[in-house]
């Protein structure tokens, strides 16, 4: 039962790579977006907010199809990227990372936004009065105080990215060794006769990963509270 086959290992490793890359690339962007939503008022803010949350409510197959239309070989952005920068997303693991990044983005942004909103603006004012330019206020006060929320957002985003299925399989298909993640491997296995045991193994693996992520996220949230109380 616990003999994980090479194909399964490949799927697990690919899932980890896809989710790690998606999270690491999305995090700086997520921090910037969270800060804008938490600290700035601008025209079209509610539209921007809705757009970020769209992947959460759209059927994943729709998001995947939209990605295919946009970032596919003949898509508007995809064709340009392929011709000018040599970056191809369609049917590559990078495409899986893009799909996972977009699908997990709302989950990544939300805890970061909440933790930035929880930072007392009066502390930021005090830092400004002590001579800190706005970007240094962010780096020395806002960011360190919001850090547990940032880590919680990364953990949640990572967990979502690991489990993403619909948008990924629509956009980059289910190619073993290239785009077959844990989820799509399970999907293939349960459609194969005698695939049940293997599917079950991967189910256990993904449950362990998801549980660890939730526990880690909870731990970071507790750290946040402690930090804000200055102990």
């Amino acid at each position: 039962m616990f003999d994980i086959s090479p194909t399964e290992w490949t799927a697990i490793q690919l899932s980890l790579r896809v989710a790690t890359v998606a999270t690491l690339v999305a995090t700086p962007l997520g921090i910037a977006v969270a800060w804008l939503l938490a600290r700035r008022d601008f025209w079209g803010k509610s539209v921007a907010d809705a757009l970020i949350h769209l992947p959460l409510v759209l059927p994943p197959v729709v998001t995947g199809y939209l990605l295919l239309l946009t970032f596919g070989r003949r898509g508007l952005v995809g064709a340009w990227l392929a011709d000018h920068l040599g970056i191809v997303f369609a049917f590559r693991w990078t495409g899986a990372a893009l799909a996972c990044g977009i699908m997990s983005f709302p989950l990544l942004v939300r805890p970061i936004r909440l933790s930035i909103e929880a930072v007392d603006r009066r502390l930021e004012q005090a830092a400004g009065a002590l001579g800190a330019e706005p970007w240094r206020v962010f780096l020395t006060i806002t960011f360190p105080l919001a850090l547990p929320g940032v880590l919680a957002g990364m953990v949640l985003g990572f967990a979502k990215a690991i489990g993403e299925f619909g948008a990924t399989i629509t956009f980059v298909s289910n190619i073993p060794g290239e785009t077959q993640t844990i989820s799509s491997a399970i999907y293939s296995l349960i459609q194969t006769p005698d695939g049940d045991t293997a599917a079950l193994r991967l189910v256990v693996v993904s449950t362990i990963i998801a549980m660890s992520a939730l526990v880690a996220s909870e731990w970071f949230a507790r750290r946040a509270t402690q930090r804000l109380h200055g102990n």
Partner: protein, 225 residues
């Protein structure tokens, strides 16, 4: 020399204040809601006047006719808030050092030793703000503002959140600060007794207007209890 001539509309409340003070310690005196904090926030650059001029030692910091507004972080004005506002994730030493780092000033152990001595906070350096008493917090906040080498120090009811015992504990430090630090101060309070002990000039505010300006004799007589 501090020159203020500003107007600001805040909802229903309108603030008009004009005064020029040469004093070592200028007191802004008035009941709560008189506009003291709004006025001091404008001097600090945290609030922008609708109309008017703010200048220190001949340098204009706000002038609405030329659309000039020097942002708070470039004013070199120290601000001690009623609620201390120490950074909770930094220990006392790092809090004290913050202004120096942000202003890119060279390390100055001599002035740090002088300030920690003046305020008796040498024994607190390794603690986090969460482990300080209210009075200790306020002394650290004073030290932090002093060490950013300001040209003017704003104190917004620094004793306001302390009980009587703690006030008596802090007041002597403020007197020492006035006599030894050599930095002009603006001191905000609604306590005439406190004012009398500290300030050299008084700006009396009521409902957003300056109603009196002069020495401590303009303060209302206090009945000691």
């Amino acid at each position: 020399m501090l020159r203020v001539d500003v107007s600001k509309q805040l909802g229903e409340f309108s603030l008009h204040a004009t005064f020029a003070s040469e004093g070592r310690v200028t007191g802004l005196f008035g009941a709560s809601g008189a506009g003291k904090t709004s006025l001091i926030n404008m001097i600090a650059g945290l609030l922008r006047p609708d109309r008017g001029v703010i200048a220190i030692d001949g340098e204009t910091l706000d002038d609405t006719t030329t659309n000039l507004h020097v942002p708070a972080h470039r004013r070199r004005i120290g601000y001690v808030f009623q609620d201390a506002r120490l950074f909770p994730h930094l220990d006392v030493r790092e809090n004290l050092d913050y202004g120096r780092r942000m202003n890119r000033l060279a390390e100055d152990p001599a002035s740090r030793a002088r300030v920690t001595d003046l305020l008796d906070i040498g024994s607190l350096l390794d603690r986090r703000p969460g482990r300080l008493s209210g009075g200790e917090r306020q002394r650290v906040a004073l030290g932090r503002a002093l060490l950013s080498q300001p040209r003017l120090l704003l104190l917004d009811e620094p004793l306001g959140s302390l009980d009587e015992e703690r006030k008596v504990e802090i007041l002597p430090y403020l007197v020492r600060l006035r006599d030894e630090a050599g930095i002009p101060m603006v001191y905000v309070s609604h306590d005439a007794g406190e004012m009398r002990q500290l300030v050299t000039q008084v700006v009396m505010l009521r409902r957003g207007q300056v109603i009196a300006f002069g020495g401590t004799e303009v303060l209302p007589a206090v009945v000691s209890s």
